[in-house]
Amino acid sequence: MPTDLIWYISCGLVAGMAGGFLGIGGGVLLVPLLTVAAGLSVHTAVPVSITAVAAHSFASSNIYLKQGRVDLELALPVVLLMTMGSVLGGYLHPIISPHWVELLLAAMMIYTALSLIFTGKRQDDGMFEGLKSRNYGISAILAAAIGFLAGLIGVGGGELLVPILYSLARVPFKTARGTALLIISFSAAAASAVYFLEGAVEPRVLAPVLIGVIAGSQLGSFLGMRTPSSIARFVYIGVMAYLAYAMSAKGIEGFL
């Protein structure tokens, strides 16, 4: 088996596992892995990554769906507004400095990580215990804002969804992860189709990456369903802190 094929499968496996466990797209991990470890250019890595995210969230969301850990009522308005926000962000991309957006997203990540810390322990293993107290409207509007900001700098924004669904929509943490994966499966598939039409998706890289991602996401979701919510939340906070650091460093670097 050629060495590059093994690298692509390994990169997909790592990103898929992390994505399935945390309920995020995994693109934030896959792009650096493909560019640094596998030596691909960003122009090749990003379309492959977004397509892999679509496949991974498709695979992972099924495990959560089977267990009744997806809130479809919440997912639909969120994905609708998030997609519209993302399209608007994409159109305004040329006139707004991406470095400000990166700093803003980093600040939002810090805020969401802190909100996860201070929200404290909740009845996280419950499923759909009454919907009246949930801020569905605010969550959907905030998701639109995230979609807009993400569209401005060309990322998925999925990593911010889980804290919003958990803290604002007040769904249990595992349900927040399952719902976020379903949302990402739609938005990433649309983004991937756009790249595909531009001819930017490289099937030679995509096939092995997807095999790794799908296998990894099944394993990650399996572990995610069996890990206590408190531990998963702790890991999530760590990943958010790292992403906030990486994004703010990128934003500051752009100004220097």
Binding site: S192, L197, A207, I214
Partner: protein, 96 residues
Amino acid sequence: MNRTDFNLNPLVGLQRHSLRIMIILFAVSAALYSLGAPIATLVGLIGLGSLYLATVVKLVMISELFRKAHLHRLWMLSLALLLVLVAVVAAEYISI
């Protein structure tokens, strides 16, 4: 939303079967690439097409589940989502 009259089994089944098809297609494509066969690209593209098709069918199925459960607001919302997603892709296709 009353979840007792909302059967998610068809959706889970659709995702499971389409996932199996995708895995087989991408595994065959990766194996053919490692052997240097030119047909590998075609198999990979069919796999990619199956992902897009499965996503659209999944959304249509969700909207049907809402319709059958008489959740008309969510049914309309899911159709609106389908329209927005298709419009985003179509707008890109037209601009190319």
